[in-house]
């Protein structure tokens, strides 16, 4: 046996020599062999050769060709070995023609066949080298040991036998190196399995040659019976090939099983399964067509490109669950044979198709001798196996699809739960939390690990659990809840009771929203409404009362008293008017940043110093406790004088309201180049906690003293003051320490045109009132 055809090589063993080195080694030994034969050609005793003429040479070469193309292919991993009758041929040639002729003829035969079959040059070289080495070994042994004895002496025949065996063993030796380099098996393994066949091959080959020549010389009519050894050899080859196939099939079945048993998507399963199927049945090509149009192709040379549209088979509904041989019209292009079976992907799904086949033989030689290159067809016993394997592939793909769908769903749900802004938690039937979204942690301050743990828990978590458990039916509830840092919250819970599959008792899925701020805002608003309605009604009482009094009992009233009464009515009416203005302003001016409505202000260049003086004069309660620091020169600012007066009055009355009777109040006006004028009002009262400092400027907000409502007011003053300041281009800020007092600073813009007077310094004048 000789001649090796390999497919794509597998990875070489680490210690194996490289392929190139093997080829070089083989060629070298071949050359050495040929040289040795050439050198010893005349030295060795010549036999009475039958022929030396060129006709015989051609004839022998023709036999050599025959020996080369009649072979049994043996599968070895990715490659094929061709079991030929070359050994027999060389033995024959050794008996018939001189050694050099023999070698020349055999090499010529080899080269002719390989070239016609268009094998790669490196393969031809390798084969030639191997052949030459083996042939020269046979020839040398035969010629050396047969001596001058006749062709059919015991010595000659024995020498030929040994030579024949040597031929096969040299070949085997070279093959072991090759398989080793290709990573198929170590030399030891190959040798162990192959030496019986090699020996048999040698013996039968020599038998064929000697019997053939002997019969040809003595009883030509019986020469065909010389083929009996050939038949024996042929059957040995077939057996060896079948064993090899069987091993291959087992290995491929294992691979197929692995491919379909991994829980993976169709994309991952199908290519592996297609290749494994191809190997199990020895097809040259395997195709899997999926309903979505994808075609996965596994072929001897690796995967190839998808088919063109015209190669699609007729309607898939024709294909049955049992493998069916394809008719020539159904075969895809380049296929010479094929079997197809339906790939069932589930009842609702359209089906797919699995096709296995053999390809058009490459070369014209194959077409001339169509039975030589391997034809592919499926055995009868193999059909049920193919059907079963394809069915398992179908269910694996279905499982993979279900798994993908489940994963996608799970990922989607997980994303929803993780990213929802409301907290989501699931209280299981046994009272423990099974789900705790990141938003829950943000809202409650309890992390998922603590929440999901069984056993000891914080009071906050226990409170949540009992609140949810206590709802008897699905719905929304409000919950006053204290977290584990003793902060009060108001939470809105949406509870839905349902029973999970497999549970006896129901679970509650709950959404949680922190509405503390919303509720506080609502409360402030309703407080405001209550307060303001009282405050509006209060001044009306004396207005109406006094007016009625004068009407009914006016004659009883002295003129002085009448004037006083009328003064009271007027004063109360003014107060009421201001209050109404405040309320209207507050309701018109909206809070928030997007589309704010701002109060209208009439801005002009005015003297800030005068405005401060006027505001202070309007608040008599400031007398005796107020220090005022103003520049001597006027300070021009861009502001609305009436509105500024309103702001300042509010700040001043607040200073009085939120500090004890008689505690000092300081008012100061300072200037800066970039920031215009700053008017600061400082008190030494109760101060404002830092957490409330930005809230005091909001509508309806009052600093609440929880024990006594000693503040009064309607929460609008600072809101309006800050809105007016902003509307004039300035702003109102606060700096405060609880228990020590507060400083409110009103910032006003510099005048619009360049009429500004150089800023005066602070220490110019101190006034005490």
């Amino acid at each position: 046996m000789t001649a090796v055809e390999t497919g794509s090589p597998s990875t070489a063993a680490n210690s194996a020599p490289s392929l190139n080195r093997i080829v070089a080694y083989t060629v070298a030994t071949g050359l050495v062999g040929v040289a040795a034969v050439a050198a010893l050609d005349n030295a060795l005793a010549p036999h009475d050769y039958w022929s030396t003429g060129w006709v015989w040479f051609v004839g022998v070469t023709a036999l050599g060709i025959l020996g080369e193309i009649v072979f049994v292919p043996l599968r070895r991993g990715v490659g094929w070995e061709q079991l030929t009758f070359n050994g027999a041929f060389v033995a024959l040639a050794a008996m018939l023609v001189p050694p050099l002729y023999a070698i020349a003829a055999s090499l010529l035969a080899l080269i002719i066949v390989d070239t016609v079959l268009r094998r790669a040059p490196i393969k031809i070289l390798f084969n030639a080298g191997a052949y030459a080495s083996a042939a020269s070994a046979l020839l040398l042994i035969f010629l050396f040991f047969s001596g001058a004895s006749s062709l059919f002496s015991v010595q000659s025949v024995a020498a030929l036998l040994v030579g024949g065996i040597a031929f096969e063993l040299v070949n085997l030796r070279i093959l072991t190196m090759l398989w080793w380099a290709l990573g198929e098996a170590t030399p030891k393994e190959t040798w162990a399995t192959e030496w019986p066949l090699s020996t048999a091959s040698g013996v039968f080959g020599v038998g064929l040659a000697t019997v053939g020549v002997a019969l040809g010389q003595t009883t030509p009519v019986l020469t065909p019976f010389a083929l009996l050894p050939a038949l024996a050899l042929w059957y040995s080859y077939q057996t060896a090939a079948r064993h090899s196939e069987s091993r291959q099939r087992s290995a491929s079945l294992v691979t197929f099983g692995q491919a379909v048993s991994t829980s993976a998507t169709a994309d991952e399963i199908v290519p592996k399964a297609a290749e494994a199927l191809r190997r199990v049945f020895g097809a040259q090509i395997a195709q899997v067509r999926l309903p979505d149009g994808l075609v996965v192709v596994a072929s001897e040379n690796g995967s190839s490109a998808p088919l063109a549209a015209q190669d699609w088979p007729p309607a898939l509904s024709n294909w049955g669950a049992q493998p069916r041989t394809l008719s020539p019209s159904e075969l895809p292009r380049d296929w010479i044979s094929g079997v197809a079976v339906r790939l069932d992907l589930g009842e609702e799904e359209p089906a797919g198709l699995v096709e296995l086949g053999g390809l058009t033989p490459e070369r014209s030689l194959g077409r001339l001798l169509p039975w030589l290159p391997r034809q592919w067809d499926l055995d009868e016993q193999d059909r049920p196996i193919l059907a079963a394997l394809v069915a398992s592939l179908g269910s694996a793909i279905r499982a993979g699809a279900t798994l993908s769908a489940l994963r996608a769903e799970a990922a989607k749900l997980s994303a929803i739960v993780t990213n929802a802004s409301d907290g989501i938690c699931l209280l299981g039937p046994t009272g423990d939390f099974q789900l705790w979204s990141p938003a829950m942690t943000r809202i409650t301050g309890i992390d998922a690990e603590s929440a999901l743990q069984l056993g000891a828990e914080s009071p906050g978590l226990a409170a949540l659990r009992s609140a949810i458990s206590s709802t008897t039916q699905s719905g929304r509830i409000g919950l006053d809840w204290t977290d584990d840092q003793d902060q009060e919250h108001y939470l809105e819970l949406g509870v839905e009771w349902f029973t999970q599959i497999g549970d006896q008792a129901p679970s509650a899925i709950t959404t949680v929203r922190d509405v503390t701020e919303d509720r506080r805002a609502e409360r402030l608003k309703s407080d405001f409404i209550a307060t303001v309605s009282h405050e509006l009604r209060t001044p009306i009482t004396p207005i109406k009362g006094y007016a009625q009094l004068l009407l009914t009992k006016g004659d009883k009233v002295s003129p002085e008293k009448r004037d006083r009464i009328l003064g009271q009515i007027l004063e109360r009416a003014d107060h009421l008017a201001r209050l109404v203005e405040d309320v209207l302003l507050a309701s018109r001016v909206s809070e928030g940043t997007a589309d704010r409505v701002r109060p209208t202000v009439a801005v002009e260049n005015v003297d800030a110093v005068e405005m401060v003086r006027a505001a202070i004069a309007a608040v008599p309660e400031l007398t005796g406790r107020t220090t005022v620091t103003l520049p001597t020169e006027p300070v021009l600012v861009s502001a609305d004088p009436v509105r500024t007066g309103q702001c300042l009055t509010n700040l001043l009355t607040n200073a009085i309201k939120y500090s004890e009777q008689g505690s000092p109040i300081e008012v100061a006006l300072t200037t800066s180049d970039e920031r215009g004028a700053l008017i600061a009002v400082r008190d030494h009262g109760i101060g404002i906690p830092s957490s409330e400092q930005d809230k005091i400027f909001r509508r309806f907000y009052r600093v609440e003293d929880p024990l006594t409502m000693t503040t009064g007011g309607n929460g609008l003053g600072l809101f309006i003051a800050s809105e007016l300041a902003t509307a004039m281009g300035g702003r109102l800020t606060v700096d405060s320490t609880p228990g020590e007092g507060s400083v409110f600073t009103l910032e006003l813009q510099p005048p619009t045109r360049d009429e500004s007077i150089p800023p005066a310094t602070l220490n110019s004048e101190r006034e005490s009132m």
Partner: protein, 128 residues
Amino acid sequence: MSTILVVDDDASVRSLLRDLLELEDLTVVEACDGPQALAAIAAEPPDCVVLDIMMPGMSGLDVLRTIRAQQGTLDLPVILLTALTDDETTWAGWTSGASVFLPKPFEPDHLTDWVLRVLSSDSAQRNT
């Protein structure tokens, strides 16, 4: 001459009440918050109290309940005045023991009528 105690945090309301009641030849004592009112009652019990509900600190209802809780002032006539007209306040007012419940703003005639009536029935009661 009967003495009326007027309790309200708003000075102008107190002044109005004073003017109204003095025209009826009644003596008026003013108090501007709950503690002041209770102190005045303790010092010299008036014949009638005109009491505002909404006051900072102690509300009029608290004052009323205190008055009703004390032995000496169980029957002291109290006229409640308020700008709060919600049901809750009204109910609280009646259940706290007010003799009369008047909303603000009030008709001055109504006030003086009620005061005089309350005084006459009270004195009638005392005399019997």
